[in-house]
Amino acid sequence: MEFFIDGVPMQAEDGQTVIQAARANGVDIPHFCWHPELSVPGNCRICMVEVEQEKGDPWFDIACNMPVTEGMRVLLHSEKIVRLRKQTMQFITLNHPVDCGICNKSGECTLQDFHYAHNGQASLSRDAKTHATKFFPLSDRIMLDNERCIMCTLCVRFTNEVSQSKALCAVNRGDHALIRPAEDANFDNDQYSDNVIDLCPVGALLSRQLLDHARVWYLQPTRSVCPGCERGCSIDIWHRKPEWALRALDPRLNTRIDRVTPHENPEVNGLWVCNKARDLAALFERPRATQATLGGAATDLATATASAARLIAAARHPVALVSSWGSNEELAAFATALAPHVQPFVKADHLPLPGEVVEDHLLIKPDKNPNRRAALALFPALPGTLAEAITPQTDLVLVWGEGFDGSAVPAGARVIRLDAYADPVQAQADVFIPVSIQTERSGHYTNFAGVVSPFTACFAPAAGIAHAEELFRAIGLALAPAVAGALTGPAA
């Protein structure tokens, strides 16, 4: 059906509200409490619009809860609406403290933006601002600043409707209203709790990890994929912009993951990610392996690569354990360069940790590896008993990635390891080559449903760390003449 916004004809579907139809046509109506995925409470009133009538006075209603009707003429910028928004902003900021200087949300705060866009003047109130609790720990992860809260109740509706933990509620009324944990629930147990930080239009819900870190305008997002489970949620990894690189302070701050937010992807994760994705910094920033070694002695990458190729060429029954954290490109490079020379099996790099939620109603999937589906499409899975894969005849084991302790390797067999993180077993390997992690390379993961999602490099790898894809090509090139020589040797 056709309707008009400020006189411009637009198309709307039956049953859409004005705010939905306007968004579908690229017109943004200001809103605090409305969210496309949550129910409509209509309590912030900032989305108020004017509707012109054929006869009689125009009437006013909130765009988030008003269905579009045929031929409806909506005004967003009429004189009355501009005044109304100004007064609404005055009311919403009545008790909001002006502490943007220390607020983590400043720079991406909707209230800040709308204040500049629609009001922009000092408070007219003579009353003292209501002082609520400044810092109230809602959970181990989230701090609540109730002074900044504008009671849009997005967080309460999120825990009721999406994460279904029902862990938050609103108590009291008017300017005494507070967000508080519900009595019979524990917000710590909500696997999606950190989404309320992104949802919050002001700086009331704060990540306790990010509380004193960089301001948001120093950071930039890089599209990535969460490797926490086979869902492979699209995420943005926020890290410091190169032009804001620090010189005097710890240089590690320049290559730190400051926060992780969901990247909207309707095919995979919609608008949400679970808390495991938010904690990727802890996963990626574990102590790294940076030195290639030969039998525990340091060496350079080229020597280690050549030694690995020699060992593979000399082996009679080589077995390779393929990482299920490798990207599609790395797996393809392994398939072309190495698979003809070794017997590959796909191993699970990560198993569910004790206490970790294995599967739930929303996003979390049981397999805790991001790309096992793509690996299994190319290579067979590791059998249930390791002895079927690594037999006593095996004289070479190539281990790519984590999750293999090495006790099953037969005595006398050679071991080649490729890993990104420091592990004492690497010193026992005949050849060890450090490889890059997901934040240092670009590629694609295929999730459990076959959806391919890209990830982009955020940081440059340190010197002496190889990209696995290039490493496999180099080993494959070194192997080709060796194998050709081995084949033609006896015949000659």
């Binding site: 220390i102 209501t130 002082h131 005494h176 507070l178 960089a214 305008w217 005097a248 302070l249």
Partner: protein, 186 residues
């Protein structure tokens, strides 16, 4: 050039005469304990002819308890055209009046352009510039970073021109702004 100037020597002698005269006048003043030429015994002495609003060394103002007034909002670092200010923030939830504070505050004087935008941008009057210029001599560029300790050595009681802003006090229960009711007690 006139023939007198082209003769060279007389003008040279006249020039030497002027130089010698000024030297002797200054020498006579110096010998008798008076100030002669405008010479500053740097770095023991400060220049007398700095303008009252000269933009020199940065200082961080302090609260009465000696902690920096700075709230680590990074406005100065953001506005700085040379990007020479680096602040590491700390957070103390137990001090709701001033939860954020600088752990480290550093200015790179090898790149600072003394434009004073940091002072303009500060919402807390936490950073100011002293009249005199800091010692900009250092053996290497890393020694030219001004640290927070050096910026906090300023004594606010001596600064008469810009009085120290009192710490904003939270109104006691029942004591609101005139005409308003008291703040809630939750």
């Amino acid at each position: 050039m006139t023939w007198w100037e082209r003769a060279y020597l007389p003008e040279i002698l006249r020039g030497l005469g002027i130089t010698t005269g000024i030297f002797l006048r200054n020498m006579a003043k110096w010998v008798t304990g008076r100030r002669g030429a405008v010479t500053t015994y740097y770095p023991e002495e400060k220049r007398a002819d700095f303008a009252p609003r000269n933009r020199g060394k940065h200082i961080l103002t302090q609260r009465p308890d000696g902690s920096p007034q700075c709230i680590a909002c990074n406005m100065c670092a953001t506005v700085c055209p040379a990007k020479v200010i680096e602040i590491e923030a700390g957070f103390d939830a137990n001090d709701p009046q001033h939860p954020k504070y600088p752990v480290r505050f550093e200015i790179d004087y090898s790149r600072c352009v003394f434009c004073g935008l940091c002072i303009e941008a500060c919402p807390e009057d936490a950073i100011r510039m002293e009249q005199d210029v800091p010692s900009l001599v250092a053996g290497d560029r890393w020694a030219m970073w001004l640290t927070m300790d050096e910026m906090l050595t300023w004594n606010p009681k001596q600064d008469v021109a810009k009085p120290y802003p009192p710490k904003p006090a939270r109104p006691a229960p029942g004591e609101g702004a005139p005409g308003g009711r008291g703040p809630s007690t939750h």
